[in-house]
């Protein structure tokens, strides 16, 4: 479904909207159904009580007739499914087709387990009967039918409102989706246009470095740093753009070697900022990973550690059997910023350039391979990034 094509923020907005919308709608419908069920149940029971009342009137008429005839044998009026009994003014049992163990005299009609009981007061006391108690078994079928209908109603209404919610949610996030798409299109176009000139600059710098003994070494290095920064930015943006369609080739990568290569790649940048580099890499550490994923992860971590470091600061890169640790002596991150720092376009510090996509890429790689990713930082002191596998 189209939900799978959404960005994390879009999904979050949609699910928040659906959560509020569906929970409030379900609560409203549930309450309405409960009230409807209670009302209808009352009506059904009342209708059955009315039948008891009608039967009581019939029995009373027959008792009156018996009183008039008063023959030696009085045949008690008894018709299934109703049972009845007569009581005198002191509520003592006279006769009946049943003898209830317990009666609630202060109620005219009530339900006891599955029996409906109606107490009909008589006056005058024909045959000495002051009360006529009529009872019948509660007909559960209409109540069961009502229950089934209520449940069906909740289920059907639930399905309908869930679908409606998805449709409304889609409309709701449409503007956000459009703005994200236009931003992505812009990045795509920009990166495409940047690719050729960056490649040309870097190739020519390498050629000039190899072929000519150039006098402006410092200026050349600056051009190289700037070009590499642009090149990395291009790689990152391409990676994000192609992430879903990119065919990964998982292979055993010499992670120690790869780390040495990437540190070498950033060497110009490290030297330019006069950062003291301390490298402590265990020998022959390998990981089952796509090489490009590994490069993007390491490049972004190193780039951030250099970019957000002090001039003449420290940078420690440590690799063991189970973890990669990169620690710098940079400006640090505020405690409240740490949990948001991995979100795309989020930057804790705007003093340096960038789009704020670096840790988003690292987060994606880490998630894809099931690694653990932790950031420890003391604001204005240092930041430590730890990846364990």
């Amino acid at each position: 479904m189209w939900v799978t094509d959404m960005l994390q923020s879009e999904k979050r907005s949609l699910f928040r909207f659906l959560g509020i919308y569906l929970s409030s709608t379900f609560l409203l419908f549930f309450l309405a159904t409960v009230i409807f069920y209670a009302f209808q149940k009352h009506q059904i029971i009342d209708a059955q009580k009315d039948k008891l009342k009608q039967e009581a009137v019939k029995i009373t008429a027959e008792l009156t007739l018996l009183h008039e005839t008063f023959s030696s044998s009085l045949i008690y009026p008894y018709k299934e499914p109703f049972k009845s009994a007569i009581y005198n003014l002191d509520r003592e049992y006279i006769f009946g087709s049943f003898k209830p163990k317990h009666l609630v005299w202060d109620k005219e009609a009530y339900q006891e387990s599955n029996q409906l009981i109606y107490i009909h007061a008589l006056h005058p006391y024909y045959l000495g009967a002051s009360y006529l108690v009529v009872s019948t078994k509660l007909d559960a079928k209409p109540l069961n039918d009502l229950f089934t209908i209520s449940i069906l109603f909740i289920v059907i209404a639930g399905l309908f409102f869930t679908l409606l919610g998805f449709f409304l949610g889609k409309l709701f996030i449409m503007p956000m989706k459009e703005s994200m798409e236009s931003m992505n299109r812009f990045i795509e176009d920009t990166t495409h246009e940047l690719n050729t000139p960056i490649s040309t600059i870097l190739t020519n710098i390498e050629l000039m470095d190899a072929l000519y003994d150039c006098e402006g070494k410092t200026e050349m290095r600056r051009i190289e740093i700037a070009s590499k920064t642009l090149s990395r930015l291009y790689e990152d943006l391409s990676y994000l753009k192609l992430n879903h369609n990119y065919h990964r080739q998982i292979e055993r990568v010499d992670f120690t070697g790869l780390l040495y290569d990437r540190i070498e790649y950033f060497h110009t940048l490290i030297e330019a900022k006069k950062i003291y580099l301390k490298v402590n890499l265990a020998e022959a550490i390998t990981l089952d990973i796509d090489k490009n994923d590994a490069i993007r992860m390491v490049d972004n971590l190193l780039s951030n550690a250099i970019k957000y470091n002090r001039k003449e600061g420290n940078l420690e890169v440590t690799l063991t059997d189970e973890k990669l640790r990169i620690k710098n002596s940079g400006m640090g991150i505020k405690k409240e910023e740490i949990k948001h720092i991995q979100h795309r376009f989020k930057r804790a510090n705007r003093s340096e350039g960038g789009f704020g996509i670096g840790l988003d890429i690292v987060g994606q790689v880490v998630k894809r391979y099931g690694f653990n990713f932790k950031i420890f930082s003391t604001y204005t002191k240092h930041t430590e990034v730890l990846i364990t596998w």
């Binding site: 008690y76 008894y78 005198n88 003014l89 006769f95 024909y126 045959l127 000495g128």
Partner: protein, 116 residues
């Protein structure tokens, strides 16, 4: 054997006491009622319809038998045009109470009812 004999004794004693009570009612109450054609069941029915319980009937019957007046009777005035007003009973109250009890037992509505 002893148990069976005991049960028979109790049963016959019960039958005998009931028969005795019935003969007493017939002797002391119903004799006059039958001779003078006074409708006992009609009177009982009227008492039932007005008072519902034997407890109340016993009380008002006792009051009437001690002082039989038209005002104390449950029956309509016209009834006494046809049937004579009873003379006051000279028996003591406990005998009278027992007679009323036997009379009510004799006519007891509960004994008349049957299920179809």
């Amino acid at each position: 054997m002893v148990k069976t004999v005991s049960i028979y004794i109790v049963f016959f004693f019960f039958l005998d006491s009931k028969a005795l009570a019935q003969s007493k009612v017939e002797h002391r109450c119903m004799g006059c009622h039958i001779r003078q054609k006074i409708p006992s069941e009609l009177i009982y029915r009227r008492y039932l319809m007005k008072y519902s319980t034997h407890k109340k009937i016993r009380k008002v019957m006792l009051a009437y038998l001690k002082e039989p007046k038209k005002e104390n009777s449950i029956m309509p005035k016209q009834f006494f045009l046809k049937f004579p007003l009873k003379k006051a009973e000279d028996t003591n109250s406990s005998d009278l109470v027992q007679d009323i009890e036997r009379y009510l037992e004799y006519l007891d509505i509960r004994e008349k009812f049957v299920l179809p």
